[in-house]
Amino acid sequence: MQRRDFFKKVGAVVAVSAVIPAMSFAADAKKTVSKNAMSYATALNAITGGKTPTASDKVKLKVPEIAENGAVVPVTVNVDSPMTDADYVKAIHILTSKNFNARTIDIHLTPANGEAMFSTRIKLGGTQDVVAVIELSNGEFLIASQSVKVTIGGCG
């Protein structure tokens, strides 16, 4: 039996008995809501202005399949672009599908960058997709995404 199936069965039993207490907790739980909270769909729309980005293998998004620690997840984006005045990557946007604020960072580039690349480390609140949205100088949008499993591992 797979671990997941096992938990599903156990989980089903637990869920039923948990409904009532969960409701009473919900009543007095004060949920912290950030003023920056933004869903992935809203964020994507804000960036592209409603245009649909094209999935492209010109965009190389490198993230670990399994993050050993959700607080520090390496992300690298490379875009195949000549970076000339006529044809360059105007911006790289990094989004997450489930963090409370889907927007993580926008990098506005110029031909003076020579290459379209960016690398950083981000926090992931749990297993989800990391998405790179690329804005080209001709107004087109490209997209690449990859799922990252966040585990709590090791000993401390």
């Binding site: 607080a71 506005h108 580039l109 960058n113």
Partner: protein
């Protein structure tokens, strides 16, 4: 004052070469959602929200940043070396703190 560090890789480079610029800052990147373990009080948000790279007075890269970058964030971009001078980085955080760091650009050959 946030401590920061700019590194150019490789260390030796020529004019016209595309190099990597690593910029890192010591910053808590508090999301405003976390609680102090001892006092149980919510730690107010304090995160870097913008970064600007200027090479000899010309803006080459700007960034809008939100709270989900890691603590002590690292930013790596590329830059085409175009003469000697200075690369400066200005960064502000959500509480309005502004800091600046810079590094000399000295291409060889």
């Amino acid at each position: 004052m946030s401590k920061s560090l700019i590194k150019i890789k490789p260390k030796k480079y020529k004019d016209g070469e595309v190099v990597k610029v690593n910029f890192m800052v010591m910053h808590p990147m508090d999301t405003g959602m976390g609680k102090d373990k001892k006092t149980k009080e919510i730690i107010p948000a304090k995160y870097i929200n913008s970064v600007k790279f200027e090479y000899n007075g010309k803006v080459i890269t700007t960034m809008n940043v939100w709270e989900s970058l890691s603590v002590n964030p690292v930013f790596t971009t590329s830059m085409k070396i175009n003469g000697a001078g200075k690369l400066s980085v200005t960064f502000t955080d959500s509480t309005g703190e502004v800091n600046e760091a810079s590094i000399k650009i000295k291409p060889k050959g």
